[in-house]
């Protein structure tokens, strides 16, 4: 083997080794990235319209949403997850605002940030009525705070 072919085979070898390492690292990352989530679905039914009172919003614990029902305007669903670092906000009837206990963000009745470190407004989710008459919320569909469902 002459010097030239030694060097070129060497280069091929080093390249193969490097790509092997890169591929393996990629495989490790992919292995660690979950492919199945045993998490609640993003779209779900929350019950019949009649289950929800007028006025005060209903807080759904598992889904972390507030369901608003207004005699005139209809249904709207707000996320209860603070946009800052994910704590659950509480809706205070006294000032009709959402308060986050973690770092003090305050959101107005429409979800807009009034105070604190939250970078953006609370999300509002699409709510529709299925054929069996139940309400269905889809967390993948973000809607403007003016969105309402009349039933």
């Amino acid at each position: 083997m002459n010097r030239r072919s030694f060097l070129s085979w060497g280069a091929v070898g080093v390249a193969a080794l490097c790509s092997g390492v890169v591929v393996s690292l990629g495989a490790v990352l992919k292995f660690l990235t979950p492919t199945v989530f045993y998490e609640p679905p993003q779209a779900f039914k929350i019950g019949n319209p009649g289950d929800f009172p007028f006025g005060q919003p209903t807080f759904l614990v598992e889904e972390k949403i507030y369901v608003f029902r207004d005699r005139v305007k209809g249904f709207a669903v707000a996320s209860a997850v603070c946009t800052h670092l994910g704590c659950t906000v509480a809706h205070f009837s006294s000032d009709d605002r959402f308060h986050c206990p973690c770092h003090g963000s305050v959101f107005g009745a429409d979800g807009a940030v009034i105070h604190g470190p939250a970078p953006r407004a609370l999300d509002w989710y699409e709510v529709t009525q299925t054929r069996d008459g139940q309400l269905r919320v889809d967390k993948d569909k973000i809607v403007p705070p003016t969105y309402r469902l009349m039933v």
Binding site: T33, L85, C87, C102, H103
Partner: protein, 428 residues
């Protein structure tokens, strides 16, 4: 020779400890002790030089490993069970509370001591040549210690744990580009749930301790190879060049040879055993300042170990590790606070998540890592290091102030509430 003597001789092959040869053989014929030199400089063992903080940190880690393994006998890392098992440990398992307390208080202690150790190393200028890289390894040890604490924090699966981890991992998701994926990788999902608890458990009991041990080995090895601890500041003044001194008789084979004097070599007694001529390269006035590691250094280390264990045990007798109610994803406690050593971070985050949660801590870590390479001033004398001392002191004090504010001055809704004002619950 009777059988017992024979067995003893097969285990302990060194000369009796009454001889100098036995004292040095004890050190380098023993795999655990040979990280020490056979002889150490007397003044390097002075308490006021190192405060033994590195040792204390290490001993706290040993306590954490032993009590942690004990706790593993009862702990199952699945959401409903994890909390139950904590309750069992707290109320029914024999010595359960004591072991849990020891584990918890040693963890807090380790965070405190690793930080103080870093301060000691900084103020004595011990990160300077040739120890620059050992400082870098030290910074990784600091980060690993914080990582161990953070992952351990989730284990009880109570309200405190759940929300501290929710907030903590959300901080990570503000990192540009990789943030979201990083969080998903860490949590094994999108929220803190079963998958997250399992992954944190794996990190806490397997991956992070393994890496921490590897780094610690390198850390210790380098302390040894850098010639032991740096000299105490009060010993810096006079600098005598090392001289060649013969302190032993040559064996019959070789004529007296001379070897070049080394400025860093602190060992030389190896030759006693190999039978070669003994040449020690030490400055004459240092000769009487060196003592055998056995018993001088070992006794001090053993006392430090016992003091550390006793302190943690005493604290664990009187103070219980907190355990709040079962984690409830729907109800964020008000105020929700991270563990105290992250409250400075939380305080920053309450002003801006990106700046306070990612940019500033990131810059702090980079700055810490680069200290030995930025500070090129070779002098270790305090009077020559005004700038360095000021900057580092401001860094330390700023961190402490943020932690104190986060701990004592933040009430419901993260509002500024002085500790002497009593608030009951939020505004409802």
């Amino acid at each position: 020779m009777n059988i017992f003597q024979e067995i003893w001789k097969s285990i302990v092959r060194r000369d009796p400890l009454s001889t100098d040869k036995g004292k040095s053989e004890l050190v380098f014929m023993n795999v655990w002790l040979h990280i020490h030199p056979a002889k150490v400089k007397k003044e390097n063992m002075k308490f006021t030089h190192s405060f033994y903080l590195g040792f204390i940190t290490f001993f706290l880690f040993i306590i954490l490993v032993t009590t942690g393994i004990a706790l593993m006998a009862y702990y199952r890392p699945y959401p409903p069970h994890a909390y139950q098992d904590m309750k069992d440990l707290q109320f029914v398992v024999f010595m359960g509370p004591f072991l849990r307390n020891m584990h918890r208080w040693a963890a807090h202690g380790m965070v405190i001591c690793v930080f103080l150790h870093m301060c000691r190393v900084f103020y004595t200028g011990s990160y300077k040549k040739p120890r620059q890289f050992n400082w870098v390894i030290g910074v990784f040890l600091l980060l690993l210690t914080l990582g161990m604490s953070f992952t351990g924090y989730l284990m009880p699966w109570d309200q405190l744990a759940y929300w501290a981890i929710t907030v903590g991992t959300n901080i990570g998701s503000y990192a540009p580009i990789v943030g979201g994926q990083l969080r998903e990788l860490l949590l094994g999902g999108h929220t803190v749930g079963e998958a997250a608890l399992l992954r944190f458990y794996v990190l806490h009991v397997a991956l992070l301790p393994a890496v921490l041990i590897l780094f610690t080995i390198v850390h210790f090895w380098r302390v040894r190879k850098d010639g032991g601890l740096s000299r105490p500041l009060w010993k810096l003044k006079k600098k005598t060049p090392p001289q060649l001194v013969t302190i032993g008789a040559p064996a019959e084979v070789a004529a007296l040879q001379t070897v070049p004097a080394s400025t860093t070599k602190t060992y030389g007694l190896m030759e006693v055993v190999t039978g070669k001529p003994i040449f020690e390269t030490i400055a004459p006035e240092e000769a009487d300042e060196e003592v055998f590691s056995y018993p001088y250094a070992f006794v001090r280390e053993a006392v430090t170990l016992m003091a550390t264990v006793t302190t943690i045990m005493t604290i664990s007798l009187f103070f219980n590790a907190p355990l709040e109610e079962l984690a409830n994803p729907a109800k964020t406690p008000n105020p929700a606070k991270a563990p105290w050593y992250f409250l400075g971070l939380q305080e920053l985050v309450s002003h801006s998540a990106l700046l306070g949660g990612v940019v500033i801590p990131g810059l702090m870590v980079v700055a810490l890592l680069l200290i030995p390479y930025i500070d090129r001033n070779p002098s270790r004398h305090l009077r020559d290091r005004k700038w360095a001392l000021w900057i580092f002191t401001i860094f330390v004090v700023a961190n402490l102030i943020l932690i104190v504010i986060g701990t004592f001055f933040r009430g419901p809704g993260w509002a500024l509430v002085p500790p002497w004002v009593h608030v009951t619950g939020g505004v409802e």
